[in-house]
């Protein structure tokens, strides 16, 4: 049995799908952030897998992933700061309560 490119892409896709699903359904802001991490992680896997299977002699994908991890970290930090911020304001991290502005 071969370990083909698809076999690596499928877990990544499932992870991405989970991320989307989680984002849409979860109510806790932090849970949503977790879903986002899943999505970003899935994309990272994509890059790495493509790099390995399609352009094995190069490192673009790997570096892209590396920087993406950095960016993800920055995003997460900022997002968590904002979550804590809003938690201070409304004493809740429930997304259902964060829809005062609409229409």
């Amino acid at each position: 049995m071969d370990l083909t490119i698809m076999m690596y892409l499928i877990p990544s896709l499932i992870m991405f799908a989970c991320g989307v699903y989680g984002f849409i359904t979860r109510k806790n802001l932090i849970a949503i952030l977790i879903s986002l991490e899943l999505m970003l992680n899935a994309v990272d896997i994509n890059f790495v897998v493509f790099n390995r299977f399609l352009f094995p002699g190069q490192m673009e994908g790997m570096f892209f992933t590396m920087f993406a991890i950095g960016i993800a970290a920055a995003e997460t930090a900022l997002a968590i700061a904002i979550i804590i911020n809003i938690f201070r304001a409304v004493k809740s991290v429930d997304i259902r309560e964060i829809n005062k502005m609409k229409f």
């Binding site: 984002f23 849409i24 949503i32 997304i95 259902r96 964060i98 829809n99 609409k102 229409f103």
Partner: protein, 644 residues
Amino acid sequence: MDMTLPLLILVLPITMFLILGLCGMKMSHKLAGTLGTIGMGITAILAYTVAFTYFFSGNPDFVTAEGVRQQFEVFNYDWLAFTPTLIVQLGFLLDPISALMLVVITTISFFVHLYSLGYMHGEKGFQRYYAFLSLFTFSMLGLVVATNIFQMYIFWELVGVSSYLLIGFFYTLPSAVAASKKAFIVTRFADLGFLIGILLLSFFTDTFNFVELTSNPGTTISTLSAGGTFMGCSVVTWALCLIFMGGMGKSAMMPLHIWLPDAMEGPTPVSALIHAATMVVAGVYLIARMFPVYCLDEASMDFIVIIGAITAFYAAVVACAQIDIKRVLAFSTISQIAFMMVSIGAARPELHEGLGYMSGMFHLFTHAMFKALLFLGAGALIHAVHSNNYTDMGGLRKYMPITHWTFLIGCLAIAGIPPFSGFFSKDEMLTAMYDNSMFLGVWMTMVAGLTAFYMFRLYYMIFWWEENPHYKDHKPHDSSWTMSLPLIILAVVSCVSGFIPFGHFVTWNGEPYDIHLKMSVAITSIVVAVVAIALATVLYRKKNDVPAKMANSVKWLWTAANRRFYWDEIYMFVTHKIIFNIICKSIAWFDRHIIDGTMDMFAKVTQKVSYAIRGLQSGSIQTYVLWYFAGAILLGLVVWMMVI
């Protein structure tokens, strides 16, 4: 011929109008009236001079060596060039009928000016009245001297508006306002036909000029015929009938006659001038002007005759059942103009050298005089008793002798009793009609009889019958000299003008000929007239109840005639109920609710949609992201499908 005099004839009245119109309010009544009258007097003298020069100077421009009278354009300016070839000109055409009309118009106008000094004395807006009279005279003169049909149309409209202004002179009276409006709109409608007629005519012949059109009528007709036919009639007939429609409106032919009786709301001298002597005969004049062309088209000539004959009879019958003396005179006018129409319509160059044409114009002339006389007389009566209805009169012969005698002369003239002028002209007309067809002759003789009957009925009801009890409080008397003088002069003219050898002056082709009385026709008509007068004498000389009984025995007929056979009601129904209430209102409704509603609907729909889709912006991040994700995927999917 020097153009100064003709030009002055036109310039003087319009100058008067401008002076009186712009500065009139600053003048005293007397000054304004005198100014207007003197101006008109001078115009009349100028017009006489011009007419005299035309008829008698023997100038080769005016009459050839063989004695054939010529058409002569004294001046002709380009006014508006529609195309390089189709140019509207303003000019002065001198020929027998325009010279004749110049005389008639200025004469009557002068007398009316003079008469009005007394009649309108002390009325508010006296200056305005004289201004309008001057405007009317100007327009009418411009109309008759028109060198081309478009100039005629221009002045045609102007006389219309002058008439509107004068009918509505007493503008605070709702009836006067309504009457003026009616007069204007009805004639305007007729003018629409006139305009379309001109459009057709000028399109095919590429000219407006009367001389060009009528000097070679055959060419005119053949170019017109090139237009083919439309709805079974040739373009020639269409064009000529439509032009005649303009005449029908102005000359109050059926079914466009309804404005004229109402027009009597205006001051009586105005009725005398405009609605008896001058403007209303413009239709006849128009046909006469175009006669060489008309006479080549049987269909339109027949149309004129039919309309005229029906109108003449209708108006005569209605006149028998009116109470208002001015209305009687008005219907009599309609009837008489119809007479002229029939006469011209019945005329053929091959019959008696176009006798009908000559006699029609002759009657136009005599009728202008005696009908002006009658109206001015009626004015004097109304002035005396302050009422239009003969039921408020009766037995006035003792109180107002001058008026009585002059009025009697007028009645005799219109009834066609020799030697008064009406006899001669009417006799010639009847001759022409008998020539055309026996039936027409008999029919019109009958109308002539009716004319004699209702005029004498009127005469007896006013001057005999029974003295009205009101005279004790307010004794009626003859008027001042300014009012009596015109009456007397016009009476004299009515007595003698029948002897004018009219055929020497006015004929359809300018070639003079002598008039011969055709004895059979003359005797018949005299007999008919005398019998009618006798009948009127029996019925109305003394107060009795026979007329009332007779009226009662045919009550429906009498009522119908009194109500003018319900023409006004029909018009009312059509204009108010159908056009105004149904068409106009529905169009206005359509505009507000459908067209505008559609525009508003766009706005409303936009608002509604905007409201309906507001849920998209639900405030929940998750929904936002759902849309985001769906959008991204769909964007790819849809375009992928398209690319395949």
